[in-house]
């Protein structure tokens, strides 16, 4: 220790003639040990730091950086770009395309449509598909395809060369009026074109379907259908939303009513009408946009409100559940009148423009990812890059404003992991963990709450089973058992602690679960009979005459108890079938005959599921892991109670149980609590038992006969498949971090309690 320091001044060294080598070695070893020791301690803490560092990006917002805008001729109404944003183009009102190299600013190409004698009256660009639609003055639509070809110049640098192909104009609308707007969409059956025209002061929508059928040779045959009117019942709409999936259509009227239509046969049928801001002073819908996936609509109002409406199954008055539009979120208030909603590609984010500000929101969580200056009064068109890495907006002056987006976890927020979230398509907000599924449009759900629930549930059943056994055993072994037995029992319990959890899990899942299944009631009866049998035995024994009692040496009771308790348990086991017949008889679904089957009874009576790998089995087997730990620590605390206290109590005439109950246990209570907490910590982190002995479904029900999914099991099952750096990967790290902190805090509290106990013993 430091108090005895080997101080040696040079004079001393000369006197005792220490070899310089010895001193040097001493110095060096001292440094080495210091370095190594501090290093090891730091490494241990570095682990926690690393885990936290891994989850940090989840809660960082988006980084959006403005890039130098590109200048195009004024009057541009639409734009498009290649996959890398290298050669963007704008489209003027007359249909002319101007291409510009974004790095050098050089003009690359200018292309004009050849539609004379008609004029171009409407333009729409779909940057993602490389498609520009031109609406002509006679109601026809011309499709212009923009593609990019890779070319290498003399120095070997790669550049994209635009190629423009215009198709023959298709007659869609009424020949007597110019197109005011055009849309294109695509579904499994073919491609849909929609034009908007004003005829005699009334708004008209006309559609045309190009049926596409794959021939035998893989060639696509295109057969144009007949133009058909769309939503003829509404003539005064202001805004039209045509999703690119062509399965629905939304019209927004000036008074704030949204009318929705669904694809039906050859046209569209009216589905539903709603007014998002019906209660507001100004009920107008100022802007609207469909979110990626086309089943959610973001609408903004005149007072800066932003609401999300989505298609989800709703219970109708007639008891049927049908997919209808309903409000699922109410977002934060925008800093002004909502002027535009622009959806991102590939995720559920959208950009809202209001009061000169741009706000990047996530639709599902409602989180604000980023806020910045718009830099323009209004936008003609806004488009995100395909990988959600870029953003470009065309303003009224022909400037193409550009931003770089860095947002790796757009779906992430505190609410994602700990809050109730109303996911698209769900009938209400819920805590859900569902990390993977087949389709692209599927939203991964990362709520840790069901996992916490499963963890607590498993821990609860484990402790329910383990604590009574461990604590009573600790009391008996420390206070009553003969010392020579204690020397055998304690190592025996330690052996139990060392049993690999994979072995316990295997036995629970593959041996115990099927075994318990048919005779659950018998087993429960036998377990329930144990305690009364033991208490009765003790009572009966204490009533016996003293000379009989002397035959049983103190500390040997348990040997006498074994046959009696075993007999009682056996009887209870035999009674099990009768109990089941008396209490749990139900009608068999298949045959209609009454059968005595608890499993069926449970299903029919409670409506809950019954799995053979259930919480009771897990709790029982986890007991093997928890009992020895709780036992060892509690036993230590109890047997370290100073003997003077025990002797004093006994000398005053208290019986041995009175001494234990009123003196020993109160003295050691903090040690016992600490033992329980450490057992709790062990049960929380148990992995293999839960993985193997439950169904691992992330359900939130207290049903003791169903399984669960715990934090630890979830990590073990999913982490090998999670892609590094992905939200899923980091969400699992978040789970690990929670586990770490949870157990660390519990164990620290337990340790503090134990230290307090030690001090108390010192005082006593």
């Amino acid at each position: 220790m430091d108090k005895i320091d080997n101080q040696s001044s040079p004079a001393d060294a000369a006197r005792f003639d220490v070899r310089p080598m010895t001193l040097a070695v001493d110095r060096w070893m001292g440094r080495l040990i210091r370095f190594g020791g501090i290093g090891v301690v730091l490494a241990v803490f570095g682990m926690l730091a690393f885990l936290i560092f891994q989850i940090f990006p989840l809660f960082a917002g988006a980084k959006v950086q403005s890039v130098e805008p590109l200048l195009f001729p004024a009057g541009a109404v639409a734009f498009g770009e290649d996959e890398y944003g290298e050669v963007p183009f704008v489209c003027l009102a007359d249909g002319t395309l101007h291409f510009q190299d974004s790095r050098t600013g050089a003009k690359v190409l200018q292309w004009s449509p050849n539609v004379a004698p008609r004029r171009v009256t409407a333009v729409r660009s779909y940057p993602r598909d490389g498609l520009v639609l031109l609406g002509l003055s006679d109601g026809a639509v011309q499709e212009v395809r923009v593609s990019y070809r890779l070319a290498y110049d003399a120095s070997g640098t790669r550049r994209s060369e635009p190629v423009v192909n215009a198709a023959e104009p298709l007659t869609v609308g009424d020949g007597g009026a110019p197109c005011r707007d055009v849309w294109a969409a695509k579904n499994s059956g073919g491609r849909l074109f929609v034009v908007r025209q004003s005829l005699a002061g009334r708004e008209h929508l006309t559609g045309l379907l190009l049926a596409e059928r794959k021939g035998l040779g893989g060639k696509v045959r295109v057969t144009p259908g007949q133009p058909f009117p769309i939503a003829a019942d509404t003539v005064d709409f202001e805004q039209v939303l045509v999703p690119t999936t062509a399965d629905s259509l939304l019209l927004i009227r000036r008074d704030g009513e949204v009318r929705t239509y669904n694809e039906a046969g050859e046209g569209f049928a009216f589905l539903q009408s709603f007014r998002p801001f019906a209660g507001a002073a100004d009920p107008r819908v100022t802007s609207a946009g469909l979110i990626f996936g086309n089943v959610s609509l973001v609408v903004t109002g005149a007072e800066g409100q932003q609401h999300v409406w989505s298609l989800y199954p709703q219970l109708q008055p007639d008891g049927m559940s049908l997919r209808r539009w309903g409000r699922i979120h109410e977002g934060s208030v925008l800093p002004g009148v909502g002027q535009g909603v622009y959806a991102a590609e590939g995720n559920k984010c959208y950009l809202a423009l209001a009061g000169g500000k741009l706000r990047l929101h996530n639709m599902t969580t409602g989180s604000l990812r980023w806020e910045g200056e718009a830099g323009a009064q209004g936008f003609r068109q806004v488009a995100f890059g395909r990988n959600y890495d870029r953003l470009a907006a065309l303003d009224d002056q022909g400037r193409l404003l550009r931003w770089k987006i860095e947002d790796h976890h757009p779906e992430s927020s505190w609410a994602t992991y700990f809050g109730k979230i109303w996911y698209e398509g769900a009938s209400g907000p819920a805590y859900e963990w569902q990390s993977s599924a087949g389709s692209d449009e599927f939203e991964a759900k990362y709520s840790l709450v069901p996992l916490f629930y499963g963890t607590v549930k498993g821990t609860f059943y484990a402790l329910l089973f383990a604590l009574p056994i461990a604590l009573t055993a600790a009391v008996y072994v420390s206070q009553f058992l003969r010392p020579q037995f204690r020397q055998v029992v304690k190592p025996g319990m330690e052996i139990m602690a060392s049993l690999p959890s994979v072995v316990l899990g295997f036995l629970a899942g593959l041996w115990l679960a099927p075994l318990v299944d048919p005779c659950l009631i018998s087993l429960l009866c036998a377990l329930a009979a144990l305690a009364p049998a033991a208490i009765f035995a003790g009572y009966a024994w204490s009533k016996l005459p003293q000379r009989v009692r002397r035959q049983v040496a103190p500390g040997m009771e348990f040997l006498w108890l074994v046959p009696f308790v075993a007999g009682c348990a056996w009887l209870a086991w035999q009674a099990g079938p009768f109990v089941e017949a008396a209490c749990f008889t139900v009608k068999d679904v298949g045959t209609g005959l009454p059968i005595a089957d608890f499993r069926e009874w449970w299903r029919q009576t409670t409506g809950l599921s019954y799995d053979s790998r259930n919480s009771l089995v897990v709790g029982f087997v986890m007991g093997f892991a928890v009992i020895p730990i709780v036992f060892t620590i509690a036993e230590d605390a109890l047997s370290n109670v100073p003997t003077s206290l025990v002797s004093g109590s006994l000398a005053l005439g208290a019986s041995r149980w009175q001494t234990v109950w009123s003196v020993v246990i109160p003295t050691a209570i903090s040690g016992i609590v600490s033992a329980v907490m450490i057992g709790f910590g062990r049960a929380i982190g148990e992995t293999m038992i839960v993985v193997m002995a439950t169904g691992n479904t992330a359900v939130m029900e207290a049903n003791p006969f169903s399984g669960m999914r715990t934090l630890s099991a979830n990590i073990a099952v999913e982490l090998p498949e999670a892609a590094i750096g992905h939200t899923h990967y980091r969400a699992l790290f978040l789970g690990a971090c929670c586990l770490f902190l949870l157990t660390f805090v519990i164990n620290t509290l337990a340790e503090v309690l134990r230290q307090r106990l030690r001090e108390r013993y010192k005082v006593v």
Partner: protein, 543 residues
């Protein structure tokens, strides 16, 4: 403790004393029951019981070894019906190895002496009645011939010899050629990429390919020599089956064996289990690679954890400034032992595998990455990362044990050493470490026991179901830190939980479980024994 009351009054609370003893009884029953269960199920795997011909009520019959008996699922608990599972083998014929038979259907069980049990390389075991054996040299031995058993044994031994030679060629020599070809391919790609001459490499490749072809035909020749030996046999239904003797690992007549024979067979099977290679998707054969993998990993882990743990403990106990900061550090280190093992696995994957391993690959194996389809070397799970992860996990165990041992060294010894003029390091080296060595050893053994039984973190950082190579072998650099390996605990998980044929896997899981428990319990008993001796020594040494 308390003496029974001397007066005749009933002592208060006596029922509760008895109640508290119940906890002990249940706890002990649980431990003993579990150990007994695993022991019985694990050992019975190697026991060869008599095999009956079971005649059923519909006139059919089967030959099979009784595997288990249970209450029929779905039968009411009030009137349970039992069913038996027989291992009938001959999967190539039946499509499965096990059948369930309702007990009420069994009419009779006979034990004819001529039933032959065969363990085979493929399609599971077989229980048949032999008809005749065609030996490798063309001689035919009828089953009724008294020399039949001897001839059969000779053919099985010959088949084993053939398999051994094949393994030597396939795994040994062809394996070497394969490794060389792999390297040459990388060299070739690099040469092509860097536009250096490829002639020599191509020539080497051609030579290797030629060698590969020669070895392949040699293997085929050896294989052909074994193929002439065949056994014709009948299954219970009378259908004839031909069993190539080259496929037979072991043969026995289950109804002819005496107790001593059965015991001998038991130990031979046990020996194969421990020293053999796995067969049939790990459900048959031995566990040598898993045992070896577990041992190598555990030993390597303890080599890593011991010096660091001991140095950290010496620092904390002897060098660090004692104070409240140190107390916090000490509590934190202690508490790390209670952090779930899976968290260490997560850290191991995130830091060791992806960050450290990824950087090592970038720095030293960039060629390998570039020219070998981005196959990571250290950037994926492996022995090194498993050992490091478990070393980190067991570090608190060693630190705590060492600190306790150091604290228990009587102060007098320390002072005496310093008083004689020894330096601090000399005192540590000559007095403290030797005196606390048993305590440190206890900690290390406990750490090893924990490491050997741990599965959850290993699943994340490099344990696999079936590893083609061992982590320690005769090719340089002998200890392959980057290799994935097999592990007993993971074997239990994989066989018990992921196996497609859970019936076939069941005996093997129990046997593996037994082995794992024996290993862990032995390590723990060792630690406990050392600790008890240590306590006894300090009792006399202090004061």
């Amino acid at each position: 403790m308390a003496l029974p009351d001397q007066d005749s009054a009933t002592p208060r609370g006596e029922p509760w004393v008895w109640f508290s003893s119940l906890g002990l009884i249940v706890g002990l029953v649980m431990v003993l029951g579990l150990l007994g269960l695993v022991l019985m199920n694990g050992l019975s795997v190697f026991w060869a019981p008599p095999v009956p011909v079971v005649r059923l009520d519909d006139g059919t019959s089967l030959i099979g070894q009784l595997a288990q008996r249970r209450i029929r699922p779905g039968s009411p608990a009030s009137a349970p019906r039992y069913e038996r599972q027989y291992q009938v083998g001959l999967r190539e014929l039946n499509g499965h190895s096990y059948v369930w038979v309702d007990e009420s259907r069994v009419r009779a069980e006979e034990f004819p002496a001529d039933i032959l049990g065969l363990e085979r390389m493929e399609n599971g075991p077989a229980f048949v009645r032999p008809v005749r054996l065609t030996r490798a040299d063309g001689r035919v031995v009828e089953a009724a011939d008294p020399a039949f058993a001897e001839a059969l044994a000779a053919e099985v031994a010959a088949g084993a010899g053939v398999r051994e030679r094949l393994t030597e060629i396939n795994r040994g020599r062809i394996g070497e050629v394969n490794a060389a070809m792999e390297q040459t391919r990388v060299d070739l790609r690099r040469a092509e990429d860097q536009k250096t001459p490829t002639e020599a490499i191509r020539r080497a490749m051609t030579a290797l390919e030629a060698r590969y072809a020669t070895l392949g035909s040699e293997a085929n020749q050896i294989k052909a020599t074994g193929e002439t030996s065949k056994l014709l046999a009948r299954e219970a239904g009378g259908r004839e089956v031909v069993v190539p003797m080259a496929q037979v690992v072991r043969e026995w007549f289950p109804n002819r064996l005496g107790f001593a024979d059965r015991l001998g067979l038991f130990f031979r099977r046990l020996g194969e289990f421990i020293f053999g290679e796995p067969r049939e998707a790990n459900t048959e054969g031995g566990l040598m690679p898993a045992i070896f993998g577990t041992l190598v990993m555990t030993v390597f882990m303890s080599l890593l954890v011991t010096p660091f743990g001991v140095i950290a403990a010496i620092y904390l106990r002897e060098y660090a400034q004692q104070g409240s900061l140190l107390r916090i550090v000490r509590i934190s280190v202690n508490n790390l032992a209670g952090v779930p093992s899976i968290v260490f696995g997560v850290f191991g994957l995130g830091f060791f595998v992806y960050v450290l391993g990824g950087s090592i690959d970038q720095l030293f194996f960039s060629d390998q990455l570039k020219y070998n389809n981005n196959t990571p070397v250290f950037g994926t799970g492996g022995l090194l990362w498993c050992s490091l992860t478990l070393a980190l996990m067991t570090l608190p165990v060693v630190i705590v044990a060492t600190e306790e041992a150091l604290a228990a060294v009587p102060r007098g010894m320390r002072e005496a050493s310093l008083a004689t003029g020894a330096s601090k390091w000399q005192t540590i080296r000559e007095i403290l470490l030797p005196a606390s060595a048993p305590g440190i050893l206890t900690g290390v053994i406990l750490a090893m026991a924990r490491g050997a039984g741990e599965v959850a973190p290993l699943m994340l950082v490099g344990v696999v179901k079936l590893a083609p190579t061992l982590p320690l072998d005769g090719t340089a650099p002998f200890l392959h830190l980057d290799r994935k390996f097999m592990h007993l605990g993971f074997h239990v998980y994989d066989l018990g939980f992921q196996s497609p044929d859970s019936d076939a896997a069941r005996p093997m899981v129990f046997a593996t479980t037994l082995l794992l428990i024996v290993l862990v319990v032995c390590l723990n008993l060792g630690a406990i024994t050392i600790r008890n001796r240590l306590r006894a020594r300090y009792k006399t040494a202090s004061f």
